[in-house]
Amino acid sequence: MTCETSANLKRAGARYTRAMTAAALAYVAIVAIAVYTLDRFSPPHWTVIVLSLLPMAPALLMLRAYLVFTRSMDEFQRRLQNEALIVACAVTVFGSFAYGFLEEWAEFPHLPLIWVLPAFCMVFGVAHIVIRLRYK
């Protein structure tokens, strides 16, 4: 099996925290630079597109850190992660789908798509806590 011991898992957790912190700091810096550039200057359209996609780089680094961390987990912990991911996917996808109909037909206020990922992460966090408690 490729799972690690509790001590190794703690080390993997520390590596995960370091990687996530570095990626989060890079994300804040990139967003700040992009907002400053877009506010102060009038860059050409292609530059605006590049600046808009730039925050994806640290976001993908966060995803990589998460995937590396899950590989250090044992089969039971990966099961908890999988169950939380399924719940988060279901709630976010069906929630945004339902809200789309409400926007279209019931004239609910328009919500930007940028909130889908934070909503997914929030639901994942709550689902993981609830699922962990179920197995206690």
């Binding site: 099996m1 799972c3 690690e4 011991t5 509790s6 001590a7 898992l9 987990m73 044992d74 089969e75 039971f76 912990q77 099961r79 962990r132 179920r134 197995y135 206690k136």
Partner: protein, 70 residues
């Protein structure tokens, strides 16, 4: 599935953390298996059997088999 993990561990004076270390899994995983909330994969079941030095069937049994034996 039922298992005798808790009894076997107690016989050897091992804590959940000790068993987790021997199995290369987290303590939470040992607890979930012991309480019957999680059934281990076949490779992990074999590893548990090897750690206790017993055949798998002396550690794990199907729910209906355990009921029939009672």
């Amino acid at each position: 599935m039922r298992n005798r993990l808790k009894v076997l561990r107690a016989e050897r004076n091992w804590s959940q953390a000790d068993l987790a270390e021997k199995l290369d899994v987290s303590r939470q995983s040992v607890n979930a298996i012991e309480t019957g909330k999680y059934d281990p994969s076949l490779p992990l079941a074999f590893k548990i059997a090897a750690v206790f030095g017993l055949p798998i069937e002396q550690i794990f049994s199907a729910d209906d088999a355990a009921q029939a034996a009672e």
